[in-house]
Amino acid sequence: MHEMSIAHSLVGIIKQEMDKHGVTKLLRVKVKYGRLSAIVPEALETAFEAMTMDTELQGASLETEEVPLVAKCRECHKEFSPEGDLMIMTCPHCSAEFGHEIISGKELYIDELEAE
């Protein structure tokens, strides 16, 4: 349940950004997380709700969006996005199975917020 630590850091950044832009009421915040990151979106939503309860951020909605996994094949150097489970990440271009380079899918960042 490290989502609580993540929600804590998230709230800190939201407050900084709101101060910077002179807004006081948060309506919505959007977080993007990579498919490989260790985030359970439901747990993050619950943690965010708990963290903002009875604060000026209460009632804001947290939107989460998964960033797909993109790998670069070690054999043919083409990029592909593995579908389904990650049991075997076979390159669709040349069928190589192992040792691909992960291009994206480990992200965890706050994308945007809507406030007034």
Partner: protein, 219 residues
């Protein structure tokens, strides 16, 4: 009003981790973040390593644990400098916990600092603690599909130690399958099958440590 942000959520932790990395770099200490599920044998592996390499290196340990100080006591019994961090239920160590612990230690003569993370294959992977490398320990009794189930921790690791290989005849675990999964997530992961208890395979791990300490010192 729509505000585009694009900031890493864990940027504050990353900053503390960078600060730690600078501090360790200055002292030329090799810092390894050891991660595994509970019971994979992190502490036993440390005990063996600390005992066997005692005459070669000055080693220190930061022990992360949910509640007790049992692990720190076991590690300290080998003669190594050990300090305990109790996370009081927290599922991972973060940069500031390690910074606080490091500030209480005498790191001047230390060659290798092991950070034993809280037993968990999920959360610790997201938090850097100033380490040079993350090391994942997977025991063969856990199942060879773990890298596929917990991809981030393996994708982030430099070394995977497959522990308890003395139990291989009794369990359904394919070293090849586990290695292939890990390699599909991290191309250059180094894999050492070991038994911390019988010492089987431990020499390869020690060789890796020797090589890395040397690299660190000459950097």
């Amino acid at each position: 009003m729509q505000i585009k942000v694009i900031r890493k959520i864990l940027e504050a932790n990353d900053q503390v981790s960078d600060q730690l990395r600078d501090m360790f770099q200055e002292k030329k200490i090799l810092v390894l973040n050891l991660m595994s599920s509970p019971g994979a044998g992190k502490t036993t592996l440390l005990e063996s390593t600390l005992t066997d390499l005692k005459d070669e290196f000055n080693m220190a340990v930061i022990e992360g644990d949910l509640q007790t100080s049992n692990d720190a006591e076991r590690v300290a019994a080998t003669g190594a400098q050990a300090i305990q961090i109790n996370t009081e239920g927290g599922c991972h160590l973060d940069g500031s916990m390690v910074l606080e612990a490091a500030n209480q230690m005498d790191l001047n003569q230390v060659d290798i600092l092991f950070v034993e993370n809280v037993g968990n294959l999920v959360c610790p992977a997201e938090f850097s603690v100033g380490e040079d490398y993350k090391i994942t320990i997977l025991s063969v009794v856990e199942g060879d599909d773990k890298p596929e189930k917990y991809p981030l921790i393996f994708a982030e690791s430099k070394v995977m130690l497959l522990n308890k290989v003395d139990l291989l005849p009794y369990v359904d675990f394919s070293l090849e399958k586990a290695s292939n999964f890990a390699r599909s997530l991290k191309n250059d992961i180094e894999i050492y099958p070991v038994s911390a208890k019988t010492r089987e395979g431990m020499d390869s791990w020690y060789q890796w440590l020797r090589k890395e300490v040397k690299t660190k010192k000459s950097a």
